[in-house]
Amino acid sequence: MTEVLKRDEVVAARGVRVTFGAVKALDGADLVIHSGECVGLVGHNGAGKSTIVNVINGGLTPHEGTITYGGQDERGISAARANGVRCVFQELSLCPNLTVTENARIMHPDLKGWNWRSGALALVEAHLQEIFPGHSIDGDSTVDDLSIAERQMVEIAISFAGTDKKPKLVILDEPTSSLDAGLAAQLMAYIRKFVSEGGSVLLISHILGEILSTSDRIVVMKDGRVTADRAAGEFSTRSLVEAMGNVVREQEWARAAATKTGEPVLSMPPRRGHGLAFEAYRGEMIGLAGLGGHGQTEALLDLYLDRNSNWWPTRRREIAFVAGDRSLNGTFPLWSILKNLSVASLGQLSTNRMVDRMREETLGESWKKRIEIRTPDMDNRILSLSGGNQQKVLFARALATTADIVLMDDPMRGVDIGTKQEVYDILRSEAANGRTFIWYSTEMDEIRLCDRVYVFREGAIMEELIGEDITEKNILAASFSEGAAA
């Protein structure tokens, strides 16, 4: 510890308390970050990670406690920025209507002068190239036209970029949640390089492997407090999970014995006129794999929209959807948690098309317990939930319906490891009861849980893997074009 103390203190938050109404988001948390280190921050959904990030970057004033930058007591967003603190938020923080270059202009107020465009372009391109070598992002394209992963990359590149002075501390709140494994590895490598050059990074992630391999020090939060703060080497995955307050479960995952029984419940001809056709059978768990942005989401959307009238309410719901990009197409921000949860099941909750509040509340309570939505009251606004908890609500929304088929578009983004394990169990038991799940995921661990996997490449299905064949190696092999091999 002593040698760490000698280093410069970039940011220090001490005894910070933040409350939102009755919720104690932070309850006396301490977090000190020194120059030249990467601090990993982990904790369950709603532990207070994003809140402490907001305190450090000046967006939130704590109700109690001190926050100092390089030893000085200062407040506010501009103070934080002046002290070299940059932040990559998990929700998209770019302006979707602007180009990549213009976004850089906004993030870097010191890009002045007549020729700021070329300056900004050079800056972004240099950093994109440095962090994600081999990327194919055009600095003049509008952010709207980029995939989620590309947006995330742009945001990261802009944050690490510095015009005159480099950033001292870059905070990354779940930066890899929409990146595929390759990009995530590139980012982690860059973080190590940045740290070795004297910068510091605060890394938040629910993917513990990343945290363990990249951080120098790991801070564990629980219920608004820091419960552990030790060098990374002193943790293993197991001890880390335990420090977060979860029990590590053995991965005893029994695949459904027989797949493809009976008539397919869902099918789709080969996409873009080539590749394999898609078929799903009752009780199956089907994974959609491949590199990010190769048409998996589009396939899910097609499957969904084909079977869902836009004009008439469907009498019996046969298909439900769990969105991954929750702020874009998942949550209804003006509504309470309960209304967000029940919106897809209104038919079964009502008599004569009038919603029965009692039945709705019962449904809400049962799902709140079942997947542990952390909130004192289901009538609170959905936005008062932490990101991971919002995602759980979206899950509950789909599972609460009577649909036989559930489509999931990378639904575990930002869900903590304990919850994930619970959700996996729920999925498994629902599948055993005859529900079919079609699951697009960017995480290899999740893909490996599926009964059958379709690997996507350039918009079409290129490979079908069944049972034991579902391995990282096989998936990666199918994900990269045979053009390279041939």
Partner: protein, 313 residues
């Protein structure tokens, strides 16, 4: 070469304008002259300026329902104060710009819906205009008249003015740093704030700029009509919104295009002329104006489809 999506969005309104213009030329070959073009388009100049003003407000996700009354008010000031005692007139205009900036600040600070505030303001501007000119009258300042009726060589004034307006506002909105911030606020206000900018300042600036262009619209209008009345530009409110939309702008998300807005204003004006040339029974003339709006937009849709098909190929 890769064409940006912004350019494509511009091509569509431009193509519909060209098509409409071709139809007008076909029906009325006389329009195909220096004077003809000027007559077709000179009343589009104030509309284009008002459309730009509306577009600025729309770029920060707001909507100005007082645009028409405000332009009327400015026209009244231009035909009275600005003509008799220019200093006082300029002072009033500066005050009006300040009022616009203040509206922007109030809307931001109190998180008010812009529609309601500007609805209220539309009564205020209308009242001020009636006080200023209880009955139509006033005289346009000589210089305004001169500018609007100038006859530059080769290209008529209306076209020159439209190009200048489009060029200048394109630079301000699409190229300058302030324009980026403005559209940034429309696109994602939180991220602009998080980057340390004063969103209040940006909004106030945007509103002030909109006020400035609306004032220009009022002066240009008076320059064309030679005098003003309190109701002279009431329909600019809807026209300006329609112009922005026709030009490919959107209500939310900071997606606007100044060149598109000017094209939208020209298209709307031209659509009216197209109808006059068609000689419809008086009963149906009003309805035909609706129909032509629909046709122009349908054209936009058709071109949109075409572009999509090309993209997917």
């Amino acid at each position: 070469m890769k064409i940006s999506s912004g350019t494509i969005r511009l091509l569509i309104p431009a193509a519909s304008l060209a098509l409409l213009l071709a139809a007008v030329f076909y029906m009325q070959p006389r329009a195909m002259s220096y004077n003809g073009l000027n007559l077709l388009f000179n009343l589009a100049v104030p509309i284009a300026l008002a459309t730009i003003a509306q577009m600025l407000i729309m770029s920060v996700n707001d909507l100005d329902l007082s645009m028409g009354t405000f332009v009327s008010f400015c026209a009244c000031v231009a035909a009275t104060m600005l003509q008799t005692s220019p200093m006082l007139g300029i002072l009033i205009f500066v005050g009006a710009i300040a009022a616009y900036a203040a509206i922007g600040v109030v809307i931001h600070v109190r998180e008010l819906p812009s529609i309601v505030v500007t609805l209220g303001m539309s009564f205020v501007w209308g009242g001020l205009a009636v006080l200023l000119l209880p009955s139509p009258g006033g005289t346009a300042p000589a210089w305004a008249r001169w500018v609007m009726t100038a006859k530059p060589p080769l290209v008529p004034m209306a076209i020159v003015a439209s190009i200048v307006i489009a060029g200048v506002t394109h630079f301000i909105v699409m190229r300058s740093s302030f324009g980026v911030l403005m559209r940034g606020v429309g696109g994602n206000n939180r991220s602009v704030q998080r980057a340390g900018w004063s969103v209040i300042g940006v909004r106030a600036g945007t509103y002030a700029l909109a006020g400035f262009f609306a004032i220009l619209s009022g002066i240009a209008l008076v320059g064309l009509t030679t005098s003003a009345d309190a109701n002279i530009a009431l329909r600019y409110t809807l026209l300006s919104i329609a112009g922005v939309i026709l030009g490919g702008g959107q209500f939310v998300g900071g997606k606007v295009s100044p060149i598109g807005a000017v094209i939208g204003a020209l298209t709307l004006t031209l659509a009216g002329s197209f109808l006059s040339f068609m000689r419809i029974s008086p009963d149906w003339q009003i309805g035909a104006q609706g129909a032509i709006l629909i046709v122009v937009l349908a054209l936009r849709l058709a071109l949109n489809r075409l572009e999509k098909r090309e993209k997917s190929l």
